[in-house]
């Protein structure tokens, strides 16, 4: 019987060297966090200087 971790893909769900959806989600999250500064660089490039250098940082502005 599959454990809870296996159901969510956190454990090896298929063959050797293949990961399940849980592992994919974790990697996706880590990758996005790692990519975040680059994303901010890209977004900042589209903002006017006043907004890019605002006291309330640009990503937190409404």
């Amino acid at each position: 019987m599959a454990t809870l971790a296996e159901k969510f893909g956190l454990r090896k769900a298929s063959g050797v060297g293949e990961a399940g959806w849980g592992h994919t989600l974790i990697v996706a999250l880590v990758s996005l966090i790692y990519f975040l500064p680059v994303l901010m660089i890209i977004f900042t490039a589209f903002k006017p200087s006043a907004q890019a250098l605002s006291v309330l940082p640009a990503p937190l502005q409404k």
């Binding site: 060297g17 990758s31 996005l32 990519f35 680059v38 940082p57």
Partner: protein
Amino acid sequence: MTTTAQFLPAPPLLSPVAHNWKLALLAGLVVSAIAIALFPAKLSLGIVGAMAALIAAAFTVNAYRRRYYGGLLVAPAIAVLFVMNIFPLLWSLGLSFFAYQSNNQSIRFVGLNNYIKVLTNDIAAPANWDALINTGMFVVFTVALQMITGFLLAMLFAKQFPLRKYLLILVLTPMMLSVVASGVFFSYYYDPTFGILSYVMGEITGNQFILMDNKVGAVAGIVLTDAWMWAPFVMLLVLAGLVSVPKYLYEAAAIDRVSKPRQFWTITFPYIRGLLMLALLFRTIEAFKLYDLVYILIRGGQDTKTIAYLITEIANEQNKTSEGAALSYVILFMVIVLTNLYLYLANRRNQGA
């Protein structure tokens, strides 16, 4: 007509024929040494250049006579390598034995004085040793963080899963950015007025947060930026080792019910050990040359000047060109010793394995 290399007897050393490269080399070295010692810098540079051309011409004629066409074909590449890499290296080595300032054309032979000065002078040496300690600290922290982060990222990407190649591109992007772009944007993130880090930390703690306010924070900021940029490089190397491990080894281990940690140490680690060592070597050499992030993020403030930063200051801002060259060679010597130590340890482990 045959195109294979021919064996021809070498001419006597002092025979003045066009293909006698040994005589050309000897004459070139002697004349260059005399020119450097006796003539002004510009004239001696011209003479050294002419001697290099003479030696190259003798090599070319010799290769043509012997029908060594392979050598002739690679000669342009070797010439470019010599002009762009080897000559500047030798020139700066020569410069380190002279008293020379870039804003003053006079040049005087001083032997090892520059080396003694940068290592023992009452004013220069303490700053150099401080910078060296800072460099060592950056080497340890940045390389350690890069190795750990890169290794963990590689472990995440070792298995096959959906969207793997797209997520891999996201993680590899920081490595592709220019150091200046990353440095400038991280200086914005760390900025006490409009930086997101200061804002978030201020909201959490209720106090104003300035990361670069002290040495620990400044070092942490530089180390984090450098590690963020170069951990993907370590990941790439380790990943190459991880994907090369044959799957049947894991299948056999699974049948034998070998635990995961034991699988890692007995199957995975031997495959990636060499690549880890390579990553360690590359990143250590690069960390020794850390200059750009220290300049962009904090301009060497909070006592974070590295040895590369100090060399730039000495050679470019203070115009002490030959002292800067001497310090550069002291560092080069240290890097060579460290590199050989790494290689010795790696080879010893491989022989033991």
